[in-house]
Amino acid sequence: MLQHSWVILLLPLVGTAVISILGRYLSKLATSLVACGVVGLAFLGTVAAAVQLEGLPPRLQAVQEVLFRWIVSGPLHISFGLLVDPISLLFMLVITGVGFLIHVYSVGYMGEDKNFRLYFAYLNLFIFTMLLLVMANNFLWLLVGWGGVGLASYLLIGFWYERPSAVAAAIKAFVMNVIGDVGIFLAIFLIYLSFHSVSYNRVFHLAYTHPAAAGVMTAITLLLLLGAVAKSAQLPLHTWLFDAMEGPTPVSALIHAATMVTAGVYLVARCYPLYHLSPTGATAVAVVGGASALLAATIGTAQTDIKRALAASTMSQIGYMIMAVGLGMYAAGLFHFLTHAFFKALLFMAAGNIIHALGGEQDLRKMGGLAKRLPVTYWSFLAGTLAISGIPGFSGFFSKDELLGQTLNRGHVVLWAVGVAAAFLTAFYMFRMFFLAFSGSYRGEVHPHGEAPRVMLVPTVILAVLAVVGGYLVLPGVWDLIGNFLAPAFSHWHGGAGAVGNPHHVNWLSMGISVLLALAGFGVAYQVYHRRAWQPAPWPFLSQLLYRKYYFDELYDAVFVRPAVRLGAVFGAVADRLVIDGGVMGLARGVRTLGNGLVFLQSGYVRRYALTIALGAAAILAYYVFWA
């Protein structure tokens, strides 16, 4: 399988093609079988590849396969190939494995949707582009995958296109991601200019033997970070993720929790030799990650929409990962990615079960008392909550502890403090959500249905089990399976030293404090939302600030949109036409205003056109006569 990893890559594409070409002849069952089947097969293939790779000596654990030459022209030589090494394999396992479960879940969740086949065509397409992203062996094809997942995400966020909010959210997500794409594109460009290659192997090799100027390396790493920030919904390009919850819930689970949003983590981990060469870039990564982790955690405490609260949590958890890879703790970051994929997908699926049962209701204030009505979901959600909160024995505890402990070991006290504070908040908002949904009495209007069909429950339960036991891959002081698995990938080039923590060096202080804080978070949430002993939200200003997500959308409106509009007005444009909406879409609109200022060129009158041409000719003449 290792030598034929293209099969893994192409399977989901085949699924997309079959469903979109033969769609109208396929029954729903056949569509489901095809869509889930290709991803399942891809998963089996990935497992086989992983087993094979483990059998190889560490030195050889990076299998490249050149599929075709892309551009061969003079000095330009770019081919397309696949790279299978522990890093990509870890991602492939999650993409296909968790992806498979979510495909199965979707069969139930989307069962009644009129665009059932289109949905699966998109979902398979997403799996393909995501695999392309992690399997490509050079930067250019990484970008192709990078853009591709953005497109698939766009299609799926806006899947319920009858809702204007869904379409708007899709566009916002796409636009913000395009900003990131441009960043990566520029980074690739600089990489090519510096090393005359875009292949990972060559670039990482040359980065040491023929180092580029420090400034260039910083620029490259910061531009890559821009891409990572946009895709992984980190500060300051995070606002799209909340709106992305307009998409179907399985999509949120797959794309906006488990896989796509972690592409930023992959990117930094993949480019570790470059970040090693640019301490500035690496520091920026860590700071952005830490800040996002804390900020998103505070946002999570005030959300009333269950999916948006989970989105805040995703942003926060990815913040941890980004912080970890920024600090060079690659194994810890990727371990957290793995456990997060389990418990966050689980939480979204459980949330999906709730939404399913409540006929589309997502407002936490209109839930409550669901424990008895949805017992499986209740237990699953509890497992996920315990895992993410870092309660000892559950997966999140192990990965978060590994991450925070190493941070403290390396002396990054501030970032450690940030991480621990976020851990407290995480426990608080997760149990808040949990109690709001499941304890007390039902506050909604619609009569809740019972538990979801089995096709949805089984994947939920499987993930619940994984969320509980997934952490034992790394048992502090005993073994470090993840570290052992990943270690070869970080031994090929410089900069990998320290990527894998020492399993026998456990920081009991950090562990103790974070566990205490997690329990404290649980305690506060218990007092406020379960026993109702304390009044919630004592500070209206603060809760409003958090609910509004620190007014980022409004800030973008004020900083980018309005000045651009004003600038446009200077150009004589019609500013009143500009309906101001939040986010970066407004930026585009501002640029358009500039364009409106040029309209005078296109008056429609032949004589005016002739005048423009004559004046242009005079300008060129003047240049030639006087200056050339």
Binding site: S20, F68, R69, W70, I71, V72, S73, G74, L76, L140, W141, L143, V144, G147, L151, L155, G158, Y161, E162, V167, I171, F174, V175, V178, V182, F185, L186, F189, Y192, L193, A588, V591, R592, L594, G595, N596, G597, L598, V599, L601, Q602, G604, V606, R608, Y609, A610, T612, I613, L615, G616, A617, A619, I620, L621, Y623, Y624, V625, A628
Partner: protein, 484 residues
């Protein structure tokens, strides 16, 4: 028959042009025997003419020679462009079947316009260049106007004609001054004069500068460079869609080929790089800023054509011949494909280019909608499309020749215009209540062109070296052949 050397006749060198032009005459004669409604069958001999011309061009591949005392040249460069033009003509012929009423003369004029394009690529004398421009332009004026009862087409034709003739005045004056300063009208003669000290006279140098300036104005008009782009949106919008498609690619490529051949190796780079750099910047910025507000698809593509002229110019000033040619190939597919999509959907190929009408197309006609979306994504240069690859190559050549700031502006223009294209893609995937714009059955010719466009964009995006191999050989052999 013995032809004395003084004639320097070598018809084989112009056989591709001659074949196309003469088949045009033949089509015209056949037209006399057909009733009006049978006129569309003339597409068959027209296609045969294109194929014949292509066969002749293929037969000449590898040669590099001039004839008629330096009036024309054949080299891989001209032949490569010939193949591009023939592709454009072929696709336009298929697309023309979509027109509600095919005037007799339509096909002949198309073939003659194509002949003019091929002459431009092969022109090694300013006389041939002028005549090529005029053959192309006059045919196009008429093709734009040949839409009975279509007021917009009439307006477009008149604007195009008056401004075209006006700009040709500048071109002619430029040529006159070039002639006055060098005493030659062939490119080889001009080059010889410039390197042989003909400019020692002070006035000769002034004449050369004036001539060059006006020459750039004249060709800048055809290439749609800012500020000579003003006619483009109106004319593209008003003209019958197949003709717009033809113009958008063909005229641009032909003017580009002519400009390139008259500058490279003839005029010292210092004489034209600064001016063209400024024009490139203006074109990129103005084009991309104005494209943002477009809601008419034909007009949007017109601005797209302006921005793309900017890309070509960047390639030109950075001596990126291969990227330019590659980009033109990719552009041919995506642009003709997009126009074909518009032509296929509009009721009579004249109307229905307004954006709202395209809402939800991807749901009503999934294949066509997705194809159009793909073509627009290529225009937006999203990888892995041909639009991306081509721009990537141009960008590399710009940086390699130390025009980094041009590369930055190119990226900025691409990023700005991205939104305009994405708006179309978004519209295609936005649901709409009323089901406008989806004729059944779809016109076959236009659909075929859309399909070819999609395949071409895919091929240029994913397998660029398939195109780069012939293109590099075409540019390796680019020479100014001396007069024998």
């Amino acid at each position: 028959m013995h032809i004395p050397a003084v004639y320097d006749v070598n018809l084989s060198i112009v056989s591709p042009e001659l074949a196309l032009g003469l088949v045009g005459v033949l089509v015209l004669i056949l037209d006399l025997f057909l009733r009006d409604e049978e006129a569309r069958w003339l597409v068959v001999p027209s296609i045969a003419g294109v194929v014949l011309s292509g066969v002749y061009a293929a037969g000449l591949w590898g040669q590099a020679a001039t004839a008629f005392h330096g009036a024309v040249v054949v080299d891989p460069f001209s032949l490569g462009f010939d193949f591009l033009f023939l592709t454009v003509i072929l696709l336009t012929l298929l697309l023309s079947l979509r027109l509600p009423k095919l005037s007799s003369g339509h096909f002949a004029l198309l073939l003659w316009a194509g002949t003019g394009m091929m002459l431009l690529a092969a022109a090694s004398s300013l006389m041939t260049l002028f005549l090529g421009v005029e053959l192309l332009s006059i045919s196009l004026y008429l093709l734009v106007a040949l839409a009975p009862g279509n007021a917009a087409a009439g307006e477009a034709a008149l604007k195009y004609f008056i401004l075209g003739a006006f700009a040709t005045g500048f071109l002619l004056l430029g040529i006159a001054f070039l002639y006055g300063s060098t005493g030659a009208v062939t490119l080889f003669g001009i080059q010889k004069a410039l390197s042989g000290g003909a400019l020692n006279l002070p006035h000769a140098f002034t004449f050369l500068k004036v001539g060059l300036a006006l020459f750039l104005v004249g060709l800048g008009f055809k290439l749609a460079l800012v500020p000579f782009q003003v006619w483009v949106p109106d004319v593209y919008q008003g003209a019958p869609t197949p003709i717009t498609a033809f113009m958008s690619v063909g005229t641009k490529a032909a003017a580009f080929a002519a400009l390139l051949r008259s500058l490279y190796g003839i005029i010292p780079p210092g004489g034209w790089i600064p001016a063209l750099t400024v024009l490139a910047v203006a074109t990129l910025l103005v084009g991309s800023l104005l494209i943002l507000r477009q809601t008419n698809l034909k007009r949007l593509l017109a601005y797209s054509g302006i921005v793309n002229a900017g890309y070509l110019l960047v390639a030109l000033v950075s001596f990126g011949l291969v990227p330019a040619a590659y980009y033109l190939a990719a552009y041919t597919f995506m642009n003709l494909g997009a126009f074909a999509g518009i032509a296929a959907l509009s009721k009579d190929a004249e109307e229905g280019a307004e954006l709202p009408a395209y809402r939800g197309l991807a749901y009503r006609r999934p294949w066509l909608g997705a194809s159009l979306a793909f073509l627009f994504l290529s225009l937006a240069s999203i990888p892995p499309t041909g639009g991306f690859t081509g721009k990537f190559l141009i960008l590399l050549s710009a940086v390699a020749s130390n025009h980094a700031y041009l590369a930055v502006i190119l990226v900025a223009a691409t990023a700005i215009s991205l939104f305009a294209y994405l708006r179309v893609v978004v519209a295609l995937f936005t649901p709409a209540e009323e089901a406008g714009l989806a004729p059944r059955p779809l016109p076959a010719g236009a659909v075929v062109v859309v399909g070819i466009g999609v395949l071409g964009v895919l091929a240029t995006g994913i397998l660029p070296h398939l195109f780069l191999i012939p293109i590099s050989s075409m540019t390796h052999l680019f020479t100014i052949s001396p007069v024998p």
